[in-house]
Assembly symmetry: C2
C-alpha cells in the first residue's frame, strides 16, 4: 500500500508526482476547447478540467494553468468572450491528444491535427465537426486562484448541438450509447460501459434501477 509516509509527495520526482496526483480523483471528462482570436486565428486544445457549476443558468467551470499549452485558449477567450466545448470520441483520440503539443500561436491545431473547424448559427468560436456534443459558451467570469496561480474560467452555455437519439425523456444524456471517452491522469483514455441508473435516493428505502 502506498501512503504519504512510505512514499511522500516530497520524495516524488516531479513528473511522477504530476502523473500520480492527476490520477487520484478518478475518471475525468475530456473535451476539446475551440477558440478564435480577434484576427480570426483559431485554436483547439484538449482539457480534462471542465466541471459542472450549475444548471440554472447553465454554467461550466474550467481550470487553466497559465504556463500550460491552453494559454492561447485563455487569451482568445478574453479577446472574444466565447469558446466551444466539444466531446472527444474514440475514433479521433490521437488527433484530440495531439492538440496538446506546443504549436506556435500562428499554427491552428485544427490544421495541424486535421480535425474539422465548423461554425454554426453565427456563434463566433469554432466547433469541432467530428464531436457529437457541441457546446457554445459565453464568458461570465475569470477568477484567479492565488493559491497556485491557476485560473478558473466560468462560462454560460448559450448554445448546444446534441443528437436527439441519445437524450432520454427526462433530459438525461446516454453517453454510454456514444463512443465518448474519459481520461485518467494525463494521457490514459478509456471507454465507458453502462452499469446502472439509480432512482432519486430517499432516507427510508434503497434506490432502484431506472430502466
Amino acid at each position: 500500500m502506498l501512503n504519504n509516509k512510505s512514499d511522500s509527495f516530497d520524495s516524488m520526482e516531479t513528473r511522477y508526482k504530476v502523473q500520480f496526483v492527476n490520477s487520484l480523483i478518478g475518471h475525468k471528462p475530456v473535451n476539446l476547447i475551440g477558440t478564435i482570436d480577434s484576427e480570426k486565428k483559431t485554436n483547439l486544445s484538449i482539457v480534462s478540467s471542465c466541471f459542472h457549476l450549475g444548471a440554472n443558468p447553465a454554467l461550466i467551470g474550467m481550470i487553466i494553468r497559465p504556463d500550460s499549452v491552453p494559454r492561447h485558449t485563455l487569451e482568445n477567450i478574453k479577446e472574444t468572450n466565447s469558446w466551444t466545448i466539444n466531446s472527444v470520441q474514440e475514433e479521433f483520440i490521437k488527433k484530440a491528444h495531439q492538440t496538446s503539443a506546443r504549436y506556435p500561436k500562428e499554427t491552428s491545431e485544427f490544421n495541424a491535427t486535421e480535425l474539422t473547424e465548423v461554425y454554426i448559427d453565427n456563434f463566433i468560436a469554432p466547433y469541432v465537426k467530428e464531436s457529437i456534443i457541441k457546446l457554445g459558451l459565453e464568458l461570465r467570469e475569470v477568477v484567479e486562484l492565488k493559491i497556485n496561480g491557476t485560473v478558473l474560467v466560468i462560462g454560460e452555455i448559450k448554445d448546444f448541438h446534441i443528437p436527439t437519439e441519445i437524450v432520454s425523456k427526462d433530459g438525461h444524456i446516454n453517453l454510454d450509447k456514444t463512443s465518448i471517452v474519459s481520461v485518467c491522469g494525463l494521457d490514459h483514455y478509456n471507454t465507458v460501459e453502462n452499469l446502472i441508473r439509480l432512482s432519486y435516493a430517499k432516507p427510508d428505502s434503497w434506490p432502484e434501477e431506472i430502466q
Copy 2:
C-alpha cells in the same frame, strides 16, 4: 438534433434541465466525501464535483451547492478543516448513491448505508474502508462564487492510501484495473475499460501508444 433554438433552456422543465445540463461535459469522477464535526458526528456524501487543481502542492477543488445535501459536509469541513475523498466501486454503488438521501444531521450516512467508517494514522476525518483509493485533505480555501451562490472548497492532499499494484512506474494510476466507476449526469453510473495511453504530444510527430 437538439439545439437551443428548437429546444431552448427557457422552455425546459426544471428537473429535465438539471438532468440535461449535468450530462453535457461528459463522464465525471464520482467520490464519497467523509467528514466529522466537532462533536464526533460523521457524515458521508457522494459528489461528482471534485476536480484536479494542481500537483505541487497537491490540490483538489470541489463545488458545493449551499442548498444541497452536502451542506452538512461543508459545515463539518469548516469545523474541522479536514475531509476525505474515497473512490466509488461497482460493488457498493447502491450504498454510495444512497448517501445522497436527505438524512437528518444526527444520522450518519455510514450507519444508514452500512459503509464502513475507518480512521487511519490519526487523520481526523473518517475514510470509507471499502474504497480502494483514500485521500485525506486539509482545508486551504473556501471561495464563494457569487455568480450562482455555489462554494468552491479547495483542499490539499495530506495523505493517501492506494494499492501499490495499480500504480505504474511513472506514477500513473491504472484505474481501469479497478472497478472504480464514473458518473454521467446525476445518477447514471458507468464502468470503464482501457482504450489507450498516449505519449507526450510533440508538434512534429503523432503520439504513440504507451504500453
